[in-house]
Symmetry: C2
Subunit: 313 residues, 2 copies
């Protein structure tokens, strides 16, 4: 036997990013009340962390301009459930603190042309902008997650040098980021790249395994194969989006974020515990699907909710 799966993590922490990363990339604008209801359904599924919104400029991303109102609607959720919000800068951080957040995320990339295009700054400039955010977070005892986008490829530059990823990762950790989420923003990664990047970060960079999460997009169908490779490298935190929310808005049926349902099906099938109820995630997706302008892209969801089950062929 060449493949030994007994060394895989026995538990995986699934970070739900549907309400933020998902809805932000949907064309439809979801009313605040329905966002709150969606997040509350997700909370019932048993996650330990849900990324709920983003304190960005309402002009930049109008879909998330109701960040404070969303937080107000979630005030009574148990403190054991970590609610995280994205903050682009110090102003966003201050709004997040005012809204009661105890966990935030910052967002940069491994390629300058991507950050220039998205946030009109180089990677170095974006990191410099995070310094006061991290300092304030530290003073307030707030946990910070750091997203690195375009880890496995950039829409403008193509292949990204893993050493760029390592440099950005080390700088974020040095600033005080608690966890790094390595993003395959455009869904181009294959498992060999996952091994290459993780090997560099873990073995050459000396980054502890428990500081690393992976964030795959399923644009070309490789997300779960990449998850399997990451698990085999020891990673035990995976981001995903209920229903696959945030699919590519330009192609009907095309995929963006890895769907939580597909991830849970894989993990649970392999005997890996997540604490998250797959059935309850399907229920949350079924609710938000009524608001979207297209069916969810999760394959598990589509099979599970088919009128006649997809069983034979």
């Amino acid at each position: 036997m060449k493949l030994d799966l007994s060394t895989l993590p026995r538990q995986v922490r699934v970070v739900e990013v549907g309400p933020r990363d998902g809805l932000q990339n949907e064309k439809v604008r979801v009313p605040t009340e329905q966002k709150i209801h969606f997040i509350r359904l997700l909370a019932e599924a048993g996650y330990s962390e849900i990324e709920v919104t983003s304190f960005v400029s309402p002009r930049a991303i109008p879909q998330l301009s109701d960040a404070s109102e969303v937080m107000t609607g979630l005030r009574d959720l148990p403190a054991a459930l970590r609610l995280t919000a994205l903050v682009p800068n110090l102003k966003g951080m201050e709004r997040a603190l005012a809204a009661g957040l105890r966990s935030v995320a910052v967002f940069t990339a491994a390629s300058d042309s991507f950050t220039r295009h998205n946030i009109n700054a180089t990677v170095a400039e974006s990191l410099a902008q995070f310094r006061p955010v991290l300092a304030l977070a530290q003073r307030e005892g707030v946990r910070v997650r750091g997203y690195i986008s375009t880890v496995f490829g950039c829409p403008y530059e193509g292949r990204v040098d893993p050493r760029r990823v390592l440099a950005v990762a080390l700088e974020l950790l040095e600033m005080g980021v608690a966890e790094l989420s390595l993003g395959d923003t455009i869904g181009v990664a294959t498992p060999n790249q996952v091994v290459e990047v993780l090997d560099l970060l873990l073995n050459e960079g000396g980054i502890p395994l428990e500081r690393l999460a992976v964030h795959f997009h399923d644009t070309r169908g490789t997300a779960l194969a990449n998850v399997l490779a990451a698990l085999q490298m020891g990673v035990s935190c995976v981001d995903s989006s209920a229903g696959g929310l945030g699919g590519c808005p330009y192609a009907p049926g095309a995929s963006g974020n890895l769907a939580t349902e597909d991830l849970l099906y894989l993990l649970h099938g392999m005997g890996i515990e997540t604490g998250v109820s797959l059935e309850q995630v399907v229920r949350a997706t079924r609710f938000i699907a009524t608001v979207l302008d297209h069916p969810p892209t999760s394959k598990y969801y589509l099979a599970a909710t088919a009128q006649t089950p997809c069983s034979e062929s």
Copy 2:
């Protein structure tokens, strides 16, 4: 580093099953001329084997009642390209021989309730029916591929004992089958099951690696993760269907066969040679898509043919 991908096969043989397994499971009946054109486009992609049709009773599967006509339209394809057809019994075998086939496939399962439901016979009865088929094939020097369905789960029985798979596999090989294709017919497998079954067949059953192929369905999104596990176990023959043809007809967007495009993207990304042109497969899928009543389910195809590329999010 815990995961060593350098031991993966350097070359993988991709067996294209779209024209048979795919079209058989599409609601739309494709005119013979368009089937022939589709297969000829696929042939240009560089496959070494394409399963083109099935010599089943026209009453059972009207979509494939033109098997002989399809073969006539492919007569001038190079002999190096192996064209395979499914034969359910001796009568089908005789028709296949008359149509000039030099490679056929037989089809059984690892669960009795599945074969009873599909071909009104137990697994043992189906195997008995193959004996004269295999004997005739041997006399004529025709290669026989053996499909085993429901290897990882049955729609009627649920979990399938891997020892049942081993017993069926050994009997097929003893009869003279050249290659076994292990089918996850309902798309329920997770990588641990792939490892378990392959370990049993290879190490306890003593079946040589080169006699095994895998045939995954992507119904719940796990097909490529299962391919990765199979590659890590040393398997180097994978079945797939251009565009993901043969999706679950009951749910819009739901998936059946693993899409060839997604498989090729994974394999080529990992530096594994297939000899098949991904671009040419996309071209073949684009053609057949004009005949179908739904978009293809291949994620790579959907991303590649989006009017605006799915790049950012």
